[in-house]
Amino acid sequence: MKTRILGVVALLAVLAAAANALFVVPADLNQGDAQRIMYVHVPSAWLGYLSGGVTALAGIGYLWKRDLRLDAIALSAAEMGVMFTAFAIWGGMMWARPIWGVFWQWEDPRLTTTALLLALYAGYLLFRRLTDDPHRRAARAAVVGLVAAADIPIVHFSVEWWRGLHQGPTIGSPDKLLTPAAPSQFVIALLAMLGAFTLAWAWLMIRRYQLARIQWQLEEHGRLGRLSAARRAATSTSASVQASTEGAP
C-alpha cells in the first residue's frame, strides 16, 4: 500500500506544481506565456534520460546476475523512456513554434538529440517483442541497451559541435530556465515540476514493474501448461497402446 500512497502524493504534487506553473508564476518578459511549456518540457526530457540510465543499468545488472526481475525493470524503464521522450519532443515543438516560428530546428541540439533518443527507445521496445524466450530476450535487450546508452553521450557531443559551427538561434533559448541568472520564482517552479514528475515516474515504474512480473508468471504458466499437456498426451498414447496390446491376447 506504500505504492498507493506514493501515487496519491505524486498526483497531488503534480497538480500543485502545475497550478503554480500555469497560474501563479508570472509570464516571461521575452517569451511570454509560451515559456510555460518549459515547465513540462524540461521534466519530460529529464525523465527521458533518467529512464535511459535505468534501462541500461538494469540491463547490465541482468547480464551480471541473470535475474529476470532486472529485465522487468529494464522493460518498464524503456516504456517510461519512450513516453517521456515523446512528451519532450512534443513540448519542444510546441515551444519552438511560437518562439522560433517553426516546429523543428535542425540547429537545436536538444531537439535532434531527443529525436534520436526516441528512435533508440522505440527500436529497443520493438526489438524486445521479437524474441519469445525470456532469458534470451533479456540478454539481447541488455546488449542493445548497452550500446544505445554508450551512444547517447556521443550523440550529445556531436550534435552540440554541429550546432556550434552554425549561428544558433539567439532569440530565446530553452536554456534560459537553467542558467543561474534566471529569476528564482521560475527556478523554484521548474524544480517543483521536476520533483512532482519524478514522483509520478517512480509510481509508474513500480506499477509497470508489477505488471511485467505478473505477465511473466502468466507466460511461464502458459509455457509449463503446454509442456505438461504435451507430456500427458505422450503418456496417454503410450498407455492406450499398452492397453490395446494387453487387451488382445
Binding site: D33, M94, R97, P98, L204
Partner: protein, 53 residues
Amino acid sequence: MTDVWYVVAGWVVISGGMALYAVTLLRRLRGTRERSLKIRRGAEAAASDEGSE
C-alpha cells in the same frame, strides 16, 4: 494560433498522455492479477481433486 494555444496543446498532451497511460496501466494490472488468481484457484482446485481421489 496565439501563444496560449501552444501552451495548452503542450500541457494537455503531456499531462493527458501521462494520465491515460496511468489509467491503462492500472486496468492492465487489475486484469492480469485477476487472471493470475483464477489460474491459481484452478490449480488449487485441481490439486485438491487429485488429493481426494
